[in-house]
């Protein structure tokens, strides 16, 4: 059949309207699906995490979780420090090496001071430090404001 221009322009409009309407519906459907697949991280700011002083002897380290982040807590030379455990290089978990009194990352050889300052290796930045408070027989670790 030979559609005349008026009919075909009406059909064109209809096509475009259909596509627009269906597209809008698909977009609307995508919203719950995407929010479902990418839920926000639970637990924003939480209170300080505490460990017993007795659990952290001299020269030892403990891993704690502050909110959703892993934090390495070290007692070195009497002083307690806490740093983000995720290496600033490519995200491996760092470890305390008591023999050399340094924080080491075994993935690519990053080296840090006990307070997180970068010494050597591929990591581009210092490890993020955390606030440490010692009260009584407890050690409190929280985010630096």
């Amino acid at each position: 059949m030979e559609p005349n221009t008026e009919q075909s322009s009406r059909r064109d409009f209809l096509s475009k309207a259909c596509i627009a309407s269906c597209g809008a519906t698909c977009a609307l459907t995508a919203v719950p699906v995407v929010t479902y697949l990418l839920p926000g991280e639970a637990g924003a700011a939480t209170g300080p995490v505490q460990i017993k002083s007795s659990e952290l002897p001299e020269g030892a380290a403990r891993m704690v979780k502050v909110g959703a982040k892993k934090v390495l807590v070290i007692r070195n030379g009497g002083k307690v420090t806490a740093v983000d455990a995720k290496c600033t290089h490519l995200g491996c978990i760092v470890a305390w090496e008591p023999s050399v009194k340094q924080i080491r990352c075994y993935c690519h050889g990053g080296k840090f001071e006990p307070d997180g300052k970068r010494i050597d290796g591929p990591p581009p930045r210092d490890q993020q430090p955390y606030k440490v408070e010692e009260s009584g027989d407890k050690v409190l670790i929280s985010q630096l404001t």
């Binding site: 699906v33 929010t35 479902y36 926000g40």
Partner: protein, 377 residues
């Protein structure tokens, strides 16, 4: 745009697909095809949305015995839009069974199971049973009291299905007791085995439907004599003319499913206690007639009756020798179907009221009401 088309044409043979699409679009369907004939498409669409929502759910589901309920709780109450996706999926399962039953009834009414479409009917029956299997396996996954004990109880009726039901029941459970393995089995069956099997059967079913065409009103003999294509030349319309009905039904079904999911969302019961059965446990509504029937007869008799009825149902194209397709010319078959339907419905209702107290009446396990005097206990 044209360059893209040429690129695809040279590599994929795009025009071949387009020709196939056009051919299918203008294939004739009998002129009496109405909205009832869109139920098959509706079922297919619901299946596809079930797969989509199921995949989303499976991303956050854990099939370990302890984690199952916890993960479903997370989905239902914590994850954003999780409740919507889960309710959508749960309502979809109910809708699917209803649509399938309506579709089978439509096929029966128009005699679409007769020669040469017997195989289509068989594939369809296979699909129905697989879909019930979906419902059965999926129902257990949240591991709450109702779903766990409903499954245990429905196993009775499931074991009433064709001969191998008993052994299959044990294989499915992974032994006598429900363990981690049981839930894992159910999950894998629900998520891998059944979808693959259903996809295969759907492909076969659709191929047959397309190849043999929708059954005409004429009798089997007339169709054989005239040839389907000739018949359609005079009394057929292109599928494209019928397509707007399909679109309408599909949109209606999707909207209905979303409505149910948003306005009547599914909650979650207490976590299942495998060591203690709560009172008043029943399987899902589509298993109720079979479940109730088994209460009236000794087990073997009941299973025999169920197997017999199902065999008659599946082998219908071979048992029904009447070449007529018009409902008016198949009075016996129509009567038999009406009786079968009424009996099934009655059993379903009895199954629903059994062990329930409604108003002044208490229904016993067989669904028989007993009047209860106020204050007497």
């Amino acid at each position: 745009m044209n360059r893209l088309r040429k690129w695809l044409e040279d590599r994929l043979g795009l025009s071949m697909f387009e020709e196939f699409g056009q051919k299918q679009l203008y294939k004739p369907v009998p002129s009496h095809a109405n909205y009832a004939f869109t139920l098959g498409t509706a079922a297919l669409v619901v299946f596809m949305t079930q797969v989509a929502s199921g995949i989303l759910l499976a991303m956050n589901y854990s099939s370990g015995l302890e984690q199952a309920h916890v993960s479903v709780h997370q989905i239902t109450f914590v994850l954003p839009a999780g409740w919507l996706i889960r309710s959508f999926h749960a309502w979809g399962s109910h809708l699917m069974v209803i649509i399938l039953l309506l579709h089978m009834f439509r096929v029966f009414w128009y005699g679409g199971y007769k020669k040469p479409r017997e195989l289509t009917w068989l594939f369809g029956c296979g699909l129905l049973f697989l879909m019930l299997g979906f419902g059965f396996t999926g129902y257990l996954l949240p591991m709450d009291q109702v779903s766990y004990w409903g499954t245990v109880v429905a196993t009775e009726s499931f074991m009433g299905l064709p001969v191998v039901g008993d052994k299959v029941g044990h294989i499915i459970r992974g032994g006598e007791e429900v363990t981690n393995a049981t839930l894992s089995r159910f999950f894998i069956v629900h998520v891998l085995l059944l979808p693959a099997a259903v996809a295969g059967l759907i492909a076969g079913h659709l191929y047959l439907v397309r190849r043999l065409g929708i059954s005409p009103r004429a009798s089997v003999k007339e169709e054989e004599a005239q040839g389907y294509e000739n018949m359609m030349r005079t009394e057929g319309v292109p599928f494209a003319h019928h397509m707007y009905r399909e679109v309408t039904t599909v949109l209606f079904v999707i909207t209905l499913q979303v409505a149910l999911a948003m306005l009547l969302p599914f909650g979650l019961g207490e976590v299942a206690t495998p060591d203690a059965t709560p009172k008043g446990v029943k399987p899902e509504w589509y298993f109720l007639p079979v479940y109730q029937l088994l209460k009236y007869f000794p087990k073997l008799v009941g299973i025999l009756i169920i197997n017999g009825a199902l065999a008659m149902f599946v082998l219908l194209p071979f048992l029904d020798r009447n070449p007529e397709r018009r409902p008016g010319k198949r009075k016996f078959m129509m009567a038999a179907a009406a009786i079968g339907l009424l009996v099934t419905l009655a059993l379903g209702v009895l199954g629903y009221v059994a062990d329930k107290k409604i108003g002044h009446y208490e229904f016993d396990i067989k669904g028989i009401p007993h009047k209860v005097e106020e204050g007497a206990k």
